[in-house]
């Protein structure tokens, strides 16, 4: 899965949590908890969705790495690469 595809998935799941938000205009480096008014219950729902979609289980200690779109995309790419045992994902 490319980083573009991962990013699209991340945005799609965030949109489900915050349907009223203009997700495409979200600053990729801003904290989604502040930008989208996401609380711990929303974050757990987000992590659960990522697990269901990608098979990546994000431990609580890594939550700080997934609270921006860019950080989350990088993190998931890294984890998927580890799962595949094939190094970093393709794409930008």
């Amino acid at each position: 899965m490319s980083k573009d595809e991962i990013r699209a998935l991340v945005l799609r799941e965030l949109q489900r949590i915050a349907p009223e938000a203009d997700i495409e205009r979200l600053d990729p480096d801003s904290d989604v908890r502040d930008e989208l008014d996401i609380d711990s219950m929303d974050l757990l729902r987000f992590v659960t969705a990522l697990n269901a979609e990608l098979g990546v289980s994000v431990p609580e200690s890594d939550y700080r790495r997934i609270v921006t779109v860019r950080g989350c995309t990088e993190y998931l790419a890294e984890k998927l690469g580890q799962l595949a045992g094939a190094g970093p994902c393709a794409g930008r």
Partner: protein, 385 residues
């Protein structure tokens, strides 16, 4: 035969609009089946039926706005389907509030009148003419439900209010909170609780759980708040007339902020009896449905106490207002590391401020203090929650 009535889904509800029927005339329904969707000031609610039988007749059309207590359908009950005492407690809707209902939307047909034409005081009739209020839409609060001038004035105010959902919700919250502050003499207590043991336990527990089964600290706080009500049951009550008998079951109202603004506080039923994992699953489901607008009527009408947590908004201490007719509300602030002295040593510890607002007509500071002390003690033994 039994009447299926427009339920009261909170002390602030005066009327509701039928959005749609989920069942048709002639359908068999079982107790707890959702048979209608009703729009209230707090969003759309799925309304359950509290007895089993056959729907004989539907009396209200989608789009109609009718006062609380209005018959919406006739149900032919099955023989031997008498309700148990516990069910009976849920069956009758709360008495309709004294305030009048807002008139139906212009496009809606007039709802069937539950009474044989309104009885109106002379002054009430005069005010209705002056304000252009349709008396058929006004609920009387006088003796024998006679419509008084004040009822007409309330109806006129309600009709003039903004109709968009957020504004209506704000109006409902305003009415409930103003009533609470007017009628319930609040007193407040607070304590700081070391949640180090609780957080350590959660961290260890979550490491062994799947993502879907993870527990949030909120679940622990809610369970401790629920269990402590067994020690101080007078806080788990609803004000009725001039007394507040303790409720036999503990239904925690959980304050949930909505994305469009406003909040609801639906019930986590029997929160004291649920294992922590089940409570967490029920909480996740409740929050998601509250935000999606698919709560059930029993969840709106059953809370016996409310818990509000504003810690995630960075707030350290909450001073909440009791949601009537409940007699207490618990507030939790942010869990944060702060200096704390334990065994004569100063150390950083994760702390949370717990507050309680209670109705002084029902209890006093001594008992309320015992409640907060119990929450503290339970959070020191998280494995027992």
């Amino acid at each position: 035969m039994a009447e299926f009535l427009m339920p009261s889904l909170g002390a602030d509800m005066e009327a509701g609009t039928l959005v749609k029927w989920r069942r048709a005339a002639g359908d068999r329904v079982e107790r707890d089946d959702v048979i209608a969707e009703v729009e209230t000031e707090k969003g759309i609610v799925e309304v359950e039926v509290f007895s089993s039988g056959i729907i004989e007749r539907l009396l209200v059309e989608p789009g109609q706005r009718v006062p609380v207590g209005t018959p919406m359908a006739i149900l032919r009950e099955e023989r031997g389907a008498a309700t148990s005492p516990a069910e009976a407690a849920r069956t009758p809707p709360s008495p309709p509030p004294a305030a009048a209902a807002a008139p139906a939307a212009p496009a809606a047909a007039p709802p069937p009148s539950p009474v044989q034409g309104p009885r109106v005081s002379p002054r009430g009739r005069r005010r209705a003419q002056e304000l252009g209020v349709d008396l058929a839409q006004v609920h009387g609060s006088g003796p024998d439900s006679v419509i008084e001038a004040a009822d007409v004035e309330r109806a006129a105010t309600a009709a003039a209010a903004p109709k968009d959902a957020a504004a209506r919700m704000r109006r409902a919250i305003a009415a409930a909170m103003a009533r609470s502050k007017r009628e319930a003499p609040h007193f407040y207590l607070g304590t700081t609780i070391d949640v180090g043991a609780a957080l350590t336990w959660i961290e260890r527990e979550n490491a062994a759980r799947s993502v879907t089964a993870r527990i949030l600290p909120t679940a622990l706080l809610l369970k401790a708040a629920a269990l402590s009500l067994r020690e101080v049951p007078e806080l788990n009550a609803r004000w009725e007339g001039d007394e507040a008998p303790p409720s036999p079951r503990i239904h925690l109202g959980v304050a949930v902020s909505l994305r469009g603004g406003g909040l609801v506080a639906p019930a986590l039923h029997d929160a004291d009896r649920m294992p922590l994992g089940d409570l967490m699953a029920a909480l996740k489901d409740l929050v998601q449905r509250a935000r999606a607008g698919t709560l059930r009527s029993s969840e709106m009408s059953d809370p016996t106490i409310t818990v509000t947590s504003l810690g995630e908004r960075g707030v350290e201490t909450v001073f909440p207002v009791i949601f009537p007719p409940q007699v207490a509300i618990v507030g939790f602030g942010k869990i944060a590391e702060r200096p704390w002295v334990t065994g004569g040593h100063l150390a950083p510890r994760p702390l949370v401020n717990a507050t309680l607002a209670a109705d002084h007509r029902v209890t006093d500071g001594h008992r309320a203090a015992a409640y907060l002390t119990s929450i503290d003690a339970l959070l020191q033994r998280p494995e027992e929650l």
